[in-house]
Symmetry: C2
Subunit: 478 residues, 2 copies
Amino acid sequence: MTDLDPEEFRRLGYAVVDWIAGYRAGVGDLPVRPAVEPGWVRSQLPDTLPEAPRELGALLGELDRVVVPATTHWQHPGFFGYFPANASLHSVLGDLLSGGLGVQGMLWSTSPAATEVEQVLLDGLADALGLGPAFTWAGGGGGTIADSASSAALVALLAALHRTSGGAWRESGVDGTERVYVTAETHSSLAKAVRVAGLGARALRVVPPSPGSLAMSADALAEMLAADVAAGLRPVLVCATVGTTGTGAVDPVAAITAVTAPHRVWVHVDAAWAGVAALCPEHRDLLDGVEHVDSFCTDAHKWLMTAFDASLLWVRDAAALPDALSITPEYLRNSATDSGAVVDYRDWQVPLGRRFRALKLWTVIHGFGLEGLRAHLRGHVALAAELASWIEAEPGFVLAVPRSLSLVCFRLDTGDPDADDRATRALLERVNASGTALLTHTVVDGRHVVRVAIGSVATEREHVVALWDRLRGAAPGS
Amino acid sequence: MTDLDPEEFRRLGYAVVDWIAGYRAGVGDLPVRPAVEPGWVRSQLPDTLPEAPRELGALLGELDRVVVPATTHWQHPGFFGYFPANASLHSVLGDLLSGGLGVQGMLWSTSPAATEVEQVLLDGLADALGLGPAFTWAGGGGGTIADSASSAALVALLAALHRTSGGAWRESGVDGTERVYVTAETHSSLAKAVRVAGLGARALRVVPPSPGSLAMSADALAEMLAADVAAGLRPVLVCATVGTTGTGAVDPVAAITAVTAPHRVWVHVDAAWAGVAALCPEHRDLLDGVEHVDSFCTDAHKWLMTAFDASLLWVRDAAALPDALSITPEYLRNSATDSGAVVDYRDWQVPLGRRFRALKLWTVIHGFGLEGLRAHLRGHVALAAELASWIEAEPGFVLAVPRSLSLVCFRLDTGDPDADDRATRALLERVNASGTALLTHTVVDGRHVVRVAIGSVATEREHVVALWDRLRGAAPGS
C-alpha cells in the first residue's frame, strides 16, 4: 500500500484547490458562527475508523456535510472577533509547498534551506519593522518563527531565567525568588508561561497602569523592581505589551526600558497583534524604545496575511535561547553544529521538530510585497477610524477606550451601568446570532465592552458599514 | 491590495500542486544530503524584502535554484536517518484543506468541528491501537494532537506536577523536591521538559537498564522511588520509552506500572516512533501494560504517513491537563466553555492558538484505511528484518543491538574496537557522501553505531537492497 503517485496527487490536488477556491468564494454567504450544539459533529461521524481506503471525494463530501456547517469562519469578511487570523491564499500556497517538501528543520544540517530562508526573512522583516540592527544576525541577535506568541513568551522567560540565575537554572531549576512583571491587561499566555516554568502564580507581579490608562506605569514598575530587589527577590522578566488583547493598550516601552536598565531583568515586548503595524512608518512610534529590549514578538499569523502558525520572535542576543535550551544527545550531533557556523533552530524552541514555516511567510512577502502588506494594514486602520467616528457620533454609543489601530471597543451608554451592561451583552449576542458578523467582548473598568477587531483578509468597507448598520439597528430604542 | 481571488488561487494552486508532483516524482534522483556550506542559501537571496508584489512563478524558480539544492530530502526513498518523517501526499492534501479553512481551534466555540473531528479520530485510533477504553472520551480520558512528542512530554510533566503537589503547583510553583525518572536512552525532550518546567537537571533520575539490555530496570526504578520517598523527595513522573531513539529499546511498561502503583507518580509512555506499530496485532505486545499508565504518546508524523506536526497524546484523566494549564481571561470566556459540555484544546497545550491538524490525520486514515497503514508499517518491518539478516550473515558486520521493528543498528567488527569505530564512522560518511542514502549514528556501550531507520513513505525493497550493496561495497576490505 503506497502513497498517491504524482499523477493521482495532481488530480486530487486540483480537486482540493477547487474545493478551497469554492469555500473562500462563498464563505461570506455562510453564517460566521455555526449553529451547532456540543456533540453534533461527533454524532455525525462513524465511531470506528475505516479499514479500507476511500476516495478523497467522499471526504470532501463530509467536509461539506459536517465540517463547514460546524465551523466558525475565521476567513469570513464579517469576522471581527478576538484578533484576525489572516490565512491569505498566498500563505496557503506557501504552506502547501512546505508540506510538499516535507522536511524537518530542527537542525541546520537536517535542512539548510529551511534554516537560512528563515534567517533571511527575519532579518529583512527586522529591517522593515525598524527593529534596528541589534536584532539581525549580523548585529549579534536574530529572529525565529515560533508557533505562537505564547511559546515565544515562554522561551523568552526561560532565557531570562537562565541569564538572571548566573547559569544555575539549568542544573538547579527555579528557586522561588524569581519575579515576572506584567499588567492586568497582559495576555494570559504570560501567566501561563510563568506557571509552565515552575514559578507559580505568586511570581507574577501585576504593575498598575498609569492613571487614566490601561498601560503599564513605568514609575510603578520602578518602585516594584526596587522593592523586590531590596526584599531579596530576583526580577527576571518584564513583559511590555504593544497592543493588548482586550483593548489594544500600548505599554510605554521606552519608559520601561529606562527603569529596567539598572537591573539585569529581561524585557520582552509582546506585540503579537499590533507589532506588524510598524511596517507602516506612521505607526513606527508604537515601537519606540524597542532597540533596548531583549526580545520582541509579533505574529504574522494574526494581521500579516500569514496562516497560523507564524509568530515572529527576535532576540538581541543570538546565544540566549541556545544557552538556555540546548541539549545534545549523541544522535543529534553533527559536524555543522560542532563547527559553530550554523543556527540550529531546535535550540530556539521547546519542541525538537519544526516545519519549514518560512515558506508561507515567503509567499506572503513575495505575493503582496511590503507595499501590499502596508496597504492591507492601512485599509483596516482607516476602516476602524471610520467606525470609531460613527460610534462617537451616535447617541447611546460610546467608545470604551480610544481606538487602537484597527481595534474599536465600545459599549452602550445611557447612564445606567447595569442596564447598559445588559444591553451591551444583548446587542453582541443579537449581532452574533444574525450570522453576518462575529464580535467578542471584554471588560473594562468593570463594564461590559464589545470589541470590533477589523483585519480579516476579506474584510472590505462594505462589511464594516453593514456591521454598523446592524449594530445601530439592534441597539435598544432603534 | 487584496488577496488572490478564487480564480487566481485556482491557477496558482494548480501550479504549486504541479511543482510538488514534480518534486516528489524526481526526489529519488537528487542527492539525499545537500552539498552546501553554511551561508550559501543566505548568499543566494537578496538582503532586503521586495516592495512590490511578484509573480508566484518567480518564487517557484527560487525554490528550484536555491531551496531544493540546499535541502535534506526527508521524502527521498534513500532517507534512513533519524526517524522517518512521513509526509504522505494524502496528508499534504489534508493540511492544505486546513489552510483553506483557516480556522483557530483554541476553543470549541472558535471552531466546533476542529475540536470534535480531533476527538473522534483520537477515539478511533485509541481503539485501533488497543489502548483500551480508559483513554477515550467515553472512558473519562481523551486524546489530542500535539505538535511534537517533546511538547506532549512537557504537558504530561506539568499535569504530573500539578497532581502530585496536591494543587499547590499552580500558585507556588515547584519546590525542588520533585524527581523525574528516565533512562540514559530516554529522548532528550524529557530532560528538556524537566528544564523548562523549572526543575533543573538535578531532578532527573537516570534509572539503570536491566542487565544486558538498554531498557529500564523496573527493579532499579522501584528502589530509586523508595529511596527518594524515604529521603523526602517527591516522585513526579516516570517516562517509559517504547522504542528509544538511539536503538529502539523498549522499556517494560507493565513491570514499570507494577512498581509505580504504590506511588502517586505519573507514568508517561513515550512511543513517539514505535507506538504506531501497535496498529498491527503482531506488535500489540509493545504496549503491554499501557492500560495502567497516565499518558501515552505516539507520533503520526514519524511513521504513520502524516506530515509534521501531528503527535498523538492520550491521557487517562481528561481533567488532568485543563486542571494544570487552564487560565481564562475575560476575552476567552464563552457560554460553551461555561457549560462544561465541551473540550477546549487550548487547555491541553502550552500555546493558545492551534491549527486544524486533525484534517491531515483524517485524509491519511481515509486515504489509506487502517489496512493500508498496517501494510505500510509491515512492509518496512519486513525490509528491516531482511537487512538485519544480511548484516548478521556478513563477515565484518555485526548488529549492535537486536533489530527493533524497522530500525537496524550495526557496526563494523573486526575485533579492534578503535579501528572498528573509525571504520564505522568512515563507512557512514562515505554512504552519506554518495548522495544515494542518508544514515545517522548513535553510540552504544561506547561504540560507534550506524542506525538504519527504514520507514520513509517512498522507501521500497529496491532502496534497501541498494543501500546494502553500497554498505558492503564501501566497507574496508571490500
